[in-house]
């Protein structure tokens, strides 16, 4: 039997440990309090109140309060899930806690007023469309485990795939498995992960490095954050498997410093994994060794770009470098380097668990598995959602997201953050995957989805995103440095009521130059919001320059005087 906290010597040892943990928990009911995303809204106090309440009710032997990662339904923060039946209560306050313990925990009664939509029919996770329409594969542990307790992860089966790989598969077999799965990078580019690994393995070099890209700079995106905060061990497990496949001995997690909880949780996870022999030398008795170092990024958007990240890791200014050579050939310190996104790594254990071929059964022709989105904007159920590739925008926005508030009209959804594009209502039934989105001028990006209704001005949105890119341009190459500023100036002019038809042509022409000539992905994709909105909402631009009106009523310079006054009051 493995002692609590001691090294786990083999996969068999790991299974034994897992069984022991499961056995220890039989008969225990758990109260799962989100202690990451919901912290801002008082989750810590709620958690403490539950602990006190459980103690006061003398339930410690049978009820556990667990601080977990994000449950996804951030619109209802702070969210609490009560096992075994997965009763979900939202908008929890300290003063409600005694009632919950008394009625629900002790007697299994449902309290209507805490239910989703105050509807007792919606008392359980499975009842709520937001959850019912999701497929939690990568997020399976997030919200279910205490991310600061490696035993929780082990109990849920984390590290079993790694054990299997390390002791019964050849590195090449692992790569083949990932190729078979059809997994594509979740960081935005959508490059086939297995193929990238294969190229890397074939590259000359003395050492291979592995980097987990956790820079997540898209405004509004928090998929990677949720994973690192809520289930860091699965990310580590994915990295262990990747490192084994690539025969890498050193890994980095480059995480933005603005994510203090993620940083803390991943550091704790690494420490605990070391204690258990799941990192460091001779992992699970396999002879394979791996060290993972956490590096905090200073928050420049471009540092999420792989070559800029490598430059930053090398201690240089975080600026992109020309590709080729791609990092897989010559990356960190000139050696073959694999950079994958957090979510990409988190998919790896799922693939090993199911088998690559099985994994490839889900999703669409060109995009396999699931994708996590951060749903935001004018939608009822904002939050973190995971759906199979190929789900339609309608399913995500209406079925999962519960539609727009105040019965407002769906106008468009901005996909892929500042590198992405606006997809109009006519594509509501578009099955989303890497390729379909590209066709309509957007990109999957890292998974940001911002829903817009008729009160959103499309030109203003384009201006917002281009301003973001202009601010974040590293300044290295001329088209991005000067071009984004120029595009922004033209949009400023249009929103300011000084635009002309010529400006629209200039926008298009310049956007294309920036897209085609920029050095790195930032510049190459920065014009996407402009180009996609020009493509799908040209009328709205024309209204600004020809009719001098802003149909959405946002651009104050184009509003009649009294509307400006009201707009000002509302704003």
């Amino acid at each position: 039997m493995t002692e609590n906290g001691s090294r786990i010597a083999s996969p068999a040892d790991l299974s034994a440990r897992r069984e022991q943990l499961i056995a220890e928990d039989v008969g225990i009911r758990r109260i799962l309090v989100c202690s990451t995303g919901c912290l801002a809204i008082g989750a810590r106090e709620v958690e403490a109140a539950f602990r006190e309440g459980v103690a006061a009710a003398d339930l410690q032997g049978e009820v556990q309060v667990v601080a977990t990662g994000c449950h996804g339904l951030c619109a209802m923060a702070p969210v609490v899930v009560i096992e075994p039946n997965d009763v979900v209560y939202g908008r929890n306050r300290i003063k409600y806690v005694p009632d919950v313990i008394e009625q629900t925990v002790k007697s299994g009664e449902i309290i209507r007023r805490f239910c989703f939509g105050r509807d007792p029919e919606m008392a359980h996770l499975g009842d709520i469309p937001f959850y019912a329409h999701q497929t939690k594969a990568v997020l399976r542990n997030v919200g279910r485990v205490d991310p600061q307790q490696i035993d929780d992860a082990i109990q849920r089966g984390v590290y079993e795939a790694a054990g299997q790989v390390l002791t019964s598969m050849e590195p090449d077999e692992v790569v083949e498995e990932i190729i078979a799965s059809g997994l594509r990078g979740r960081g935005g580019g959508g490059f086939p992960a297995g193929l990238k690994w294969k190229i890397c393995k074939e590259s000359p070099g003395s050492t291979t490095y592995l980097i987990c890209n956790a820079d997540e700079g898209d405004p509004g995106a928090f998929m990677d954050r949720a994973l690192l905060e809520g289930d860091p061990h699965s990310v580590l497990e994915g990295m262990i498997i990747a490192a084994y496949a690539l025969e890498a001995a050193k890994g980095f997690i480059y995480v933005r410093a603005e994510y203090p909880i993620a940083v803390e949780h991943i550091r704790i996870a690494i420490e605990q994994a070391h204690e258990r022999g799941l990192l460091g030398p001779d992992i699970l008795g396999s002879n394979f060794s791996l060290d993972i170092e956490v590096r905090e990024g200073a928050g420049a958007f471009v540092c999420g770009e792989e070559t800029a990240m490598i430059a930053s890791l090398e201690g240089e200014r975080g600026m992109a470098r020309p590709k080729p050579p791609y990092p897989a050939l010559r990356g960190y310190l000139g050696q073959p380097t694999i950079i994958n996104n957090v979510e990409t790594f988190a998919n790896v254990p799922v693939i090993i668990g199911q088998g690559g071929v099985k994994f490839a059964e889900s999703g669409t022709e060109g995009s396999k598995g699931t994708k996590i989105f951060a749903l935001a904007g004018q939608v009822n159920n904002t939050g973190l959602v995971e759906v199979p590739m190929g789900a339609t925008i309608r399913e995500i926005v209406f079925d999962v997201g519960g539609g727009l508030p105040k019965k407002r009209e769906f106008k468009a959804v901005q996909m892929g953050g500042p590198s992405g594009g606006c997809v109009p209502a006519s594509y509501l039934d578009l099955p989303i995957d890497y390729d379909s989105l590209r066709e309509v001028g957007a990109i999957m990006g890292s998974g940001g989805m911002i829903v817009m209704d008729e009160t959103t001005c499309i030109v203003d949105i384009a201006r917002y995103f281009i301003s973001f890119c202009a601010e974040e341009s590293c300044g290295l190459c001329a088209p991005c440095r000067f071009g984004t500023v120029r595009l922004k100036e033209i949009l400023d002019r249009i929103c300011g009521g000084r635009g002309t038809i010529d400006d629209l042509n200039d926008l298009e022409r310049l956007a294309e130059v920036v897209q085609k000539t920029s050095l790195c992905g930032l510049g190459q994709t920065a014009p996407n919001p402009v180009l996609s909105t020009l493509r799908h909402f040209r009328d709205e631009y024309l209204a600004h320059v020809a009719d001098r009106t802003c149909p959405a009523g946002v651009c104050t310079a184009l509003l009649p005087e009294k509307e400006v006054a009201t707009a000002a009051k509302e704003g």
């Binding site: 200014r317 080729p324 440095r481 310049l510 085609k516």
Partner: protein, 821 residues
């Protein structure tokens, strides 16, 4: 040789080395792809995006940067397709948006890559009306360079140069996006010895040289290629003048020597040419005062007085010093003048540099500078190259930094290359021979160093690390180096054409063509052209000066030499000249030495005359006339020829080119060299062969003799410190003194000492220290220098206003009294 691959550029198939950058491959075959950031001598960065071309790949045609794409078999490149042109136009448009377009008042106007490429590749109109960026107008970023940020297109050539080539990362990009700008660090100027290169490679007028700002327009400049005369590398430069004034030097990319780079001393050290202080007429001293004289008058005085001394006491009573600042032709004329007209073997081009003439002239196998690019290991046991030869320094640095060569530096003090050295050995001046013995023995810690040095090919740069070092040590170091695998030596001495002058026989032990004086075959060969030459042993520079002091010698001929400043034992130099009955000087300026002469002739300077020079690797290059000399100045050889005629033994030279033909006749290694060859076929110069029959063997190929080394080691007298006396890039030399923007940069006098010694003596940084040698006693501010060994003081040589300390090893050091402020 890399494999060749076939690629197609704009429809034409060409063969280029595999892996060659497309931008370079195309250019080598006549297709110019526009560019701003790419520089052929720096790492490619693909930043400016100007060089976008279309390349056909199996996965379709892509638009990509030619400066980061390498040629591969079958590659098809379109540099001027519609897409490529649109991209290039787009980039130019963006660059012009923020460019002030103040071309009429910009130094770069007329030679500006941005201007040129806009004409050639641009859209023809600018479409933008927005506000441009605004910055404070040009700001000085160093003593020599101004930066106008409004004009900057952020190609990072300058910042990359500073970091990658110069090793002085003192400028860098600040801020992001549209606010990005080139900046120095707070309170830290861009005080690199190489800052001027950034002016040359800046593709716009953002960086300008204070010496050239607003002086001329490029189309008014007369441009002539020549070689620099500040050290023995002979970097190729373009000398640019307007209305008979030299206005600037630029580096010329010559793979053999400088690859385009110049140190600031070389770039800006032309001011002396146009100096007001230049001599314009002959001067004759009457009752202790110089007065201007006609050429004939001055020649009469020389004929009378020098003639009388030769007649009465024999040519042996006359010494001749100089020739190292002259062309080969001038030096040859000097040697022939001394040996045949005067009849003396007392002649020397070295100014107590300390290295044996035969060693400098003949040590071989001789490395070429370009061998540094192929060496696995480089040994530098020589002066600090950063101070004495900027381009050699950059070359070594590049080999180590960019190519991974191993570097071993041996020096009494920190040098510019230390940060790149695999091993650095520091020693006390005087103890060099002992260190060499231990190193060659390879015991203890030296085993590792020896292991590094055993990685061939090895190139050893060997010279005298300082002016108090045993002169023979360099020969022992060379002998050691040549026992290493696949090793070659580059002997280092710094005074411009000293190697050429030695090859011309301006040394007591050498005849033209590196023949040993006294060698009967060589003498016979020479006498067939020259007539009889004296046979008695000659004196070197110190021998001549001492001879004058002792009265053994009576007269002195100076050719572009300033012994009082140049020779460490300044006291002997001065006394020698004062004791001489007659001194004639041929010079550009009245120097501390020519002040003491009886007759001074005004000479033409570099840039005013034609000829050849020979660098440290034996490369002969042509130097050219760009402006005419001031007043009645003449070439050295003409002046010597005039004197020879007055003395009744005419040298009979018709022209400098005729002299070069005579050199080819009498000096076998120069047999194949003619001006015509250098001007037309051998643009990078021609290397004269080493190790030929008749050249003296100046090294022992069998390695070091440890006993001899042990005997050579010296220590200062008890209680004294060992003196390390070494040159700095900027100093009080005559050319620097007359190049005003550089003279101010001389570091000035100081005494560097180890912190432990400083503590013991009770001195701190900046407090005064008294140093006393047999020659002089001075008080200088202290600099705490942990790179020295204890018991050593370092004093920079030849600083403005500081008397020379002489080359004695021992120096007595004590805390000086504080001067009250």
């Amino acid at each position: 040789m890399a494999d060749l691959v076939k690629i197609t550029v704009d429809g034409r198939q060409i063969e280029v080395p595999h892996g060659e950058l497309v931008i370079r491959a195309a250019q080598d075959h006549g297709v110019y792809i526009p560019r701003f950031c790419w520089h052929p001598r720096m790492r490619e960065v693909g930043m400016c995006r100007m060089c976008l071309v279309e390349i056909e790949t199996p996965r379709g045609t892509i638009l990509t940067t030619a400066c980061t794409t390498t040629a591969a078999e079958g590659m098809v490149v379109h540099t001027a397709s519609d897409t490529a042109k649109k991209a290039q136009e787009g980039i130019l448009e963006f660059l012009l948006i923020n460019h002030p377009l103040d071309c009429p008042v910009c130094d770069k106007g007329g030679e500006c890559p941005l201007q040129d490429q806009t004409m050639a590749f641009g859209p023809g109109e600018s479409r933008f009306v927005e506000e441009k960026r605004h910055y404070e107008k040009p700001i000085p970023i160093s003593d020599l360079v101004f930066l106008d940020r409004e004009r900057c297109i952020l190609c990072a050539r300058c910042t990359r140069f500073a970091d990658e080539i110069a090793g002085d990362p003192l400028i860098e990009f600040k801020d992001r996006g549209n606010h990005t700008s080139v900046e120095t660090f707070p309170d830290l100027p861009f005080s690199s010895y190489f800052s001027g290169n950034t002016v040359q490679i800046c593709p716009v007028g953002a960086l300008t040289a204070s010496a050239y700002r607003f002086k001329a327009r490029p189309w008014d400049l007369l441009v002539v290629e020549s070689s620099c005369s500040h050290c023995t590398v002979g970097c190729r430069i373009s000398v640019e003048s307007s209305q008979n004034h030299v206005l600037r030097f630029n580096g010329v990319d010559n793979g053999a020597t400088n690859q385009g780079w110049l140190s600031d001393k070389c770039r800006f050290g032309f001011e002396f040419i146009g100096s007001e202080q230049r001599l314009r007429t002959p001067l004759v001293k009457v009752e202790g005062e110089f007065r201007e004289a006609s050429w004939a008058e001055a020649l009469d005085v020389v004929a009378d007085r020098l003639g009388a001394i030769i007649e009465e006491q024999g040519g042996d009573a006359v010494g001749g010093i100089g020739g190292a600042r002259s062309t080969n032709e001038d030096a040859y004329a000097f040697g022939k003048f001394m040996r045949t007209v005067v009849g003396s073997n007392h002649l020397d081009a070295r100014l107590d540099d300390g290295l044996d003439a035969r060693f400098l002239a003949a040590v071989s196998p001789r490395a070429k500078i370009a061998d540094l690019d192929r060496a696995a290991t480089i040994l530098v046991w020589a002066p600090d190259l950063k101070e004495e030869s900027g381009s050699l320094y950059l070359r070594v640095r590049h080999a180590v930094q960019e190519r991974g060569a191993k570097l071993v530096v041996v020096h009494p003090r920190r040098t510019g290359l230390d940060d790149r050295a695999t091993h650095k050995l520091t020693y006390r001046p005087g103890e060099g021979p002992a260190l060499l013995g231990e190193l060659a023995g390879g015991a203890g810690d030296y085993a590792k160093v020896l292991e590094t040095l055993s990685l061939g090919p090895v190139v050893a740069v060997v010279g005298r690390t300082g002016l108090t070092e045993q002169p023979q040590l360099a020969e022992e170091v060379a002998a050691f180096a040549l026992s290493l695998p696949d090793a070659k030596v580059l002997p280092f001495a710094r005074r411009s054409n000293v190697f050429g002058a030695l090859d011309m026989g301006v040394a007591p032990t050498l005849l033209p063509g590196r023949a040993a004086a006294g060698d009967s075959e060589a003498t016979g060969h020479l006498e067939a052209v020259w007539g009889p030459i004296p046979t008695q042993a000659g004196r070197d520079t110190m021998g001549i000066l001492q001879g004058l002091v002792d009265g053994d010698l009576k007269a002195l001929v100076l050719l572009g030499a300033d012994p009082v400043r140049d020779v460490p034992a300044a006291g002997i130099a001065r006394r020698g000249m004062e004791s001489a009955e007659f001194v004639v000087a041929i010079d550009l300026f009245l120097t501390d030495s020519s002040e003491l002469a009886d007759v001074v002739f005004p000479a033409e300077a570099f840039g005013e005359k034609e000829g050849t020079i020979t660098n440290l690797e034996g490369r002969v290059q042509k130097v050219n006339r760009v402006v005419t000399g001031p007043g009645q100045s003449q070439a050295d050889w003409t002046i010597l020829d005039d004197i020879s005629r007055r003395l009744g033994k005419p040298l009979g030279f018709a022209s400098a080119e005729a002299i070069s033909k005579e050199i080819a006749d009498v000096a076998p290694p120069y047999g194949g060299i003619s001006w015509e060859l250098l001007e037309w076929d051998a643009k990078e110069g021609a290397v004269v062969p080493y190790g030929e029959a008749g050249q003296p063997v100046a090294y022992r190929p069998d390695g070091v003799d440890r006993e001899a080394l042990a005997a050579m080691s010296r220590n200062p007298e008890s209680g004294a410190f060992a003196l390390h006396l070494a040159r700095t890039l900027y100093d009080d030399g005559v050319l620097m003194r007359n190049s005003l923007s550089l003279h101010a940069l001389a570091p000035g006098g100081a005494v560097h000492l180890h912190p432990a010694d400083a503590a013991r003596l009770g001195v701190s940084e900046g407090s005064l220290v008294e140093v006393e040698t047999v020659d002089a006693s001075v008080r200088l501010p202290a600099v705490i220098d942990p790179s020295l060994a204890t018991g050593v003081v370092y004093v920079p040589f030849n600083q403005p206003g500081i008397p020379s300390l002489g080359s004695d090893l021992s120096v007595v050091v004590a805390a000086g009294e504080e001067v009250s402020a």
